[in-house]
């Protein structure tokens, strides 16, 4: 499963959490290293070049958010651990370039699923995948063609823009802000209603039951996630 030979860096100041995460990763076959502080994390990241860092934002020496940039610069993917109620923190982390976030306390299964998504995307990013398959939905990003069960589905330009952006980050959360900026531009960065309407249209055209969406999942106050079928 661990197709990347490089290690996963676990950054947390709580020894018991580090131990649990390391054990889980170990069981799943990943090689893991640990850092109790931001300074140690940066040292290890540049020395060992891990594929992914699991980053707890509450670090003793620095705000975890400040680590995201340097880690990204070292081509390390970042999975952030945050407290449940800190919506702003989640959005900030994603905007700074984190790949995804996980709310504490978390299930081990959930953690491993997110780790898998992050690592898969690292590979995908290298090869710039242009065809995405989600169940019976086929998205061809180069040809701008979306088929559902073989039938071509037509979208308004903005609807397609949102879908393409979600497909490029399939499995991961894309913030409202990011979608609005890339699809509508900075003049409409606050017009979240536009996004809601586009998402409705997408669901009407792609979901089996638009009232109980399974494909485009909402993360309250953060963004949308295009679900991958595992």
């Amino acid at each position: 499963m661990a197709s990347d030979d490089r290690a996963i860096l676990v950054i947390d100041d709580e020894p018991s959490i580090r131990l649990l995460v390391l054990r889980a990763l170990d069981r799943a076959g990943y090689g893991a290293i640990e850092a109790p502080s931001a300074a140690e994390a940066l040292r290890l990241a540049s020395a060992r070049r891990p594929a992914l860092a699991i980053l707890d934002l509450g670090l003793p020496d620095r705000d975890g958010l400040e680590l995201i940039g340097p880690l990204r610069d070292l081509e390390v993917s970042v999975l952030v651990l945050t407290a449940r109620e800190a919506v702003q923190e989640k959005v900030a982390a994603l905007d700074l370039g984190a790949d995804d976030y996980l709310v504490k306390p978390f299930d081990t299964e959930e953690l491993l699923a997110r780790v898998r998504t992050c690592l898969r995307h690292r590979q995908a990013a290298r090869g710039e995948k242009s065809r995405i398959v989600l169940g019976d939905i086929h998205i061809d990003l180069d040809a701008h063609i979306v088929r559902r069960g073989g039938e071509e589905v037509h979208f308004a330009p903005k609807e397609y823009g949102v879908l393409a952006e979600l497909a490029r980050h399939a499995g991961r959360v894309v913030t409202h802000q990011h979608l609005l900026l890339t699809v509508w531009g900075s003049a409409h960065a606050q017009d979240i209603e536009y996004l809601r309407v586009a998402i409705r249209a997408l669901r009407r055209k792609l979901e089996a039951d638009p009232a109980q969406p399974r494909l485009i999942r909402n993360e309250p106050a953060v963004g949308y996630r295009l679900m991958e079928q595992e």
Partner: protein, 890 residues
């Protein structure tokens, strides 16, 4: 007072208060002299030096040695603080640097010349105000003073020395001061004067030659010694009262002084103050507003304002009554205030005036019993009295109408003359005469009278068409007409003026009552502040603002008509009013350079706000004639602020009490709900150690930790609600999203129950905080799952309803106890016997707390179609977003 009376032994509250204020405050010691040259400054320096030798920290804040060598020698060993230079009209003046002294904080500061007037541009008008500030800062002050500068003795001194000093000192400054009389025999002083040892400014020397006569100096010396003895008496009395050693107290005296526009009325005020001091009685200054006031010259108005101002400065209670005459006003007020001593002035009027009007004093003495009447001669009217009166506008049309009326009577007379004869037609001419006098006043009345006389003569009295009169009775008719005109117009004029004053007084009273009523109806601080400003601006015809303290600085809380720009001096004046609880700024004694006049809103709870008023034309915002109205308005505003503050405090107390109860309940809940799953987990882990392979145990542990997790989430949410730490960030939210996420997140809790969604996908978007809504939905779904058995169905419905939108969560549980539906939203309310399902009872309280923060109405009811409960969320119209034009592009 009966010594057995327990009250008599108790210290009087005022006396205790006064000694309490004295503690921590600096003491003022005044070196009082009868005249310049007695050696006050020398004595002050000598005592300062002595204190310094004893180890006290003494500085010279300001001392004038006037080049005297022996005095200068004394200053050498004491630290001298530099003075503050002030440039004024090209002169370079220096004044005591008040802030430097405050910053230096000595134990004792030596400040010469207590009665000194500061250069314009200083913080205070008078040095004694600077000294009050030093005393407030806990610094002891030594100062010097000549007896003739004391406000209440000013007249007495001037009466025999013929020299009036301009710089006077309010008596109250000396109330708590220690007074040391610097006394040398008059002969020695004259000796020193001749030897050139007394400093006298050149321009004053001629006038002062008379001043330094032996008889004058003796009298001044006696005054000084008496004043010092009086101060000692007062302080002794204070001491006795605060220690409850009172023997006798001459209570019940109340002094009333009538203050008018007469030039000598200031002397009356000072006399009343002396009387009040001597009797230790409260005193009021009475201003009687008579119709005559309408005809005051500007000089008279200014004098009246100054006299009233003086009384206020000296500590009188101010009373203004409108009355037809001085006599009426006085008799009325004597009864109303139960005065026992009356101080009156008697002007030196002509015998003619007294004959016509009667002497007020004579009438009063005859009519009022039980009141001691003090009569003082008033100064003769100065030339200023014949100065400019505010002119009554003359309208030539009025004359024209008067003459037309006369002409009409001539016509009418000619018509009826054949019937009644010419002699009776004279009565017709009374009509235009009285009419003009009543409607247009004296001059037109007289003009109509003369015109009538002439017209009657010309047209009716034989020989006709001449102005010649043969019969004496016709001469009488002519003069009677003019006399009637004069009399009528005077009567009418007086009635009119009285009515105007009455109306004005009624207007002011109505204004105050209206103001109080308006404020009484308000229950919110900001609105009250705005209303106070707008109303005072309207009633006083000024710009108004309110300031209050926020984060250590005074900020404007409301202003009318617009928010003003405040200069540094304005801010200083506002600060002063706030800090000291005294008026400051334009028209007061402090920081007069400010364009604004600031009044503190003082209440029993302290100063709650500062009211600032100014006029756009930079005039005095509170002219003397409106001072009484203004102070009533300030009082009302202060009362309103006090009431709101009390209400706020009360609300806070209630909220605190509720929070306390909640905290108690929370603690017991934590004890129960935290211990139960922890016990299960601990037991499970222990069992695992003994029996390592048990899936059953593991799933128990997992379930219990899940329960703990939910509980912590609830606790955190509840704490946020309780702490008021919810700051919703509403955004356009799709309810489909919200419901789907919530259903997804309560997967564990709803195990075994089917969730059916009945939410149309085309419901409008709502403006709400998606995270808070998420928590509300989680709690509601969780709650529905908890109270209904496995295999049941939970239905979630969304409907447009009225102008809003309703989300409902329906379960198939046992339903709710009828009539107690709303109670469920209280903290820790649980349906009886529901403990088995676990959970804290916090869930619905969180729903209620978050809903309220979002403006969503949360309701609970029983289902009408089946057993089970409905919990519903109603989004009112204001939260619904009308669909915009499709922004999806072509």
């Amino acid at each position: 007072m009966n010594p057995d009376d327990p009250d008599a032994m108790r210290p009087s509250p005022e006396a205790l208060l006064r000694s309490a204020t004295r503690e921590g405050r600096g003491r003022l010691k005044v070196f009082l002299g009868a005249a310049p040259g007695v050696g006050k400054t020398y004595e002050m320096l000598r005592e300062g030096a002595e204190r310094q030798r004893e180890g006290a920290d003494v500085v010279i804040a300001v001392v004038e040695t006037h080049g005297r060598a022996d005095t200068e020698a004394l200053t050498r060993d004491i630290e001298i603080l530099p003075r503050r230079p002030i440039a004024y009209e090209g002169h370079r003046l220096t004044e005591m640097d008040l802030d430097a002294v405050l910053a230096r904080r000595p134990r004792i500061a030596l400040v010469d010349e207590l009665a000194h007037t500061n250069a314009p541009g200083s913080r205070h008008e008078k040095r004694w105000q600077d000294i009050e500030e030093l005393l407030d800062a806990g610094i002891h002050v030594y100062s010097t003073l000549n007896i003739q500068h004391i406000e209440s003795l000013n007249d007495v001194v001037a009466s025999f020395t013929k020299v009036r000093v301009r710089e006077t000192l309010p008596d109250h400054v000396l109330d708590d001061a220690e007074i040391e009389v610097v006394d040398i025999p008059p002969d020695d002083l004259i000796e020193r004067l001749k030897a050139g040892k007394v400093y006298i400014p050149d321009e004053a020397s001629r006038a002062l030659n008379h001043f330094f006569s032996k008889s004058n100096l003796s009298a001044l010396r006696e005054l000084a010694l008496r004043r010092a003895a009086q101060a000692v008496d007062a302080q002794m009395l204070d001491y006795l009262r605060s220690h409850a050693l009172v023997g006798t107290y001459a209570g019940g005296e109340r002094i009333l002084v009538a203050v008018g526009e007469h030039p000598g009325a200031d002397a009356l005020v000072r006399a009343a103050k002396r009387l009040a001091d001597a009797l230790r009685a409260p005193w009021s200054a009475l201003h009687i507003e008579t119709p005559r006031e309408a005809r005051f010259t500007d000089a008279e108005r200014t004098r009246l304002a100054a006299n009233l101002g003086l009384a206020a400065t000296l500590g009188a209670t101010m009373v203004t009554v409108p009355a037809r005459s001085v006599f009426d006003g006085l008799t009325e007020q004597i009864v109303a205030s139960r005065a026992t001593q009356l101080v009156l002035g008697k002007s030196q009027r002509s015998w003619w005036f007294e004959l016509r009007h009667g002497s007020v004093v004579d009438k009063l003495v005859r009519q009022s019993s039980g009141v001691a009447v003090h009569v003082l001669p008033l100064g003769e009217s100065g030339p200023a009295d014949h100065g400019r009166r505010t002119p009554v506008p003359e309208r030539w049309q009025d004359y024209l109408w008067s003459l037309i009326a006369v002409a009409a009577m001539v016509l009418a007379g000619r018509l009826i003359e054949p019937l009644i004869g010419y002699r009776s037609t004279d009565l017709l001419f009374l009509i235009p005469t009285i009419g003009a006098a009543t409607l247009y006043g004296l001059r037109k009345g007289v003009a109509a009278g003369i015109a009538s006389g002439l017209a009657y003569n010309f047209f009716f009295i034989p020989p006709r068409y001449t102005l010649t009169i043969y019969e004496p009775e016709n001469v009488v008719t002519f003069f009677v007409l003019i006399f009637v005109a004069v009399l009528t117009s005077q009567l009418a004029g007086r009635v009119k003026a009285q009515a105007e004053i009455g109306a004005r007084s009624a207007r002011e009273n109505a204004a105050i009552a209206g103001f109080a009523r308006t404020l009484g109806g308000l229950s919110e601080q900001g609105e009250t502040a705005r209303t106070v400003c707008a109303e005072i601006a309207r009633l006083m015809d000024v710009n108004a603002m309110l300031l209050s303290r926020s984060d250590g600085a005074l900020v404007i809380t409301a202003a009318y008509p617009g928010a003003p720009e405040l200069s540094a001096i304005d801010n200083a004046a506002a600060d002063w009013a706030w800090e000291r609880g005294e008026a400051a700024g334009r028209g007061t004694g402090t920081l007069t350079a400010s364009e604004w006049r600031f009044h503190p809103l003082r209440t029993a709870l302290g100063t709650l706000a500062v009211l600032g008023v100014s006029r756009s034309d930079a005039g005095n915002p509170v002219p003397a004639t409106r001072a009484v109205l203004f102070m009533s308005l300030v009082d009302q505003a202060a009362l309103a602020h006090e009431r709101l503050k009390l209400e706020d405090d009360m609300r806070e107390v209630v909220a605190l009490k509720q929070r306390d109860q909640l905290r108690g309940a929370l603690l017991s809940s934590i004890a129960h709900d935290l211990k139960t799953p922890l016990t299960a987990v601990t037991a499970g882990v222990e069992a695992l150690e003994a029996e390592p392979d048990s899936a059953q145990l593991l799933s128990t542990i997992r379930a219990e930790t899940q329960r703990l997790r939910r509980f912590f989430d609830d606790l955190i949410d509840m704490t946020r609600i309780e702490a008021g730490a919810i700051h919703p960030q509403p955004e356009a939210t799709d309810l489909t999203d919200a419901i789907a996420s919530a259903v997804h997140d309560v997967k564990g809790a709803r195990e075994g129950r089917k969730v059916r969604l009945d939410v149309p996908v085309n419901l409008p978007l709502v403006r709400t905080d998606p995270s808070l809504l998420h928590h509300i939905l989680i709690n509601l779904i969780d709650n529905a799952a908890k109270f209904s058995g496995e295999g049941t169905e939970i239905r979630i419905e969304g409907r447009r309803e009225r102008d809003g939108l309703r989300l409902a969560i329906l379960d198939q549980g046992p339903g709710l106890p009828p009539g107690r539906e709303e109670e469920l939203f209280g903290t820790f309310t649980r349906v009886e016997g529901s403990d088995r399902t676990g959970g804290t009872g916090l869930g619905l309280a969180i729903v209620r707390g978050f809903s309220e923060a979002l403006g969503i109405e949360a309701h609970a009811a029983n289902r009408s179609d089946a057993t089970g409960a409905i919990f519903s969320l109603y989004f009112p119209q204001s939260l619904i977003i009308r669909p915009k034009e499709q922004p999806l592009g072509k």
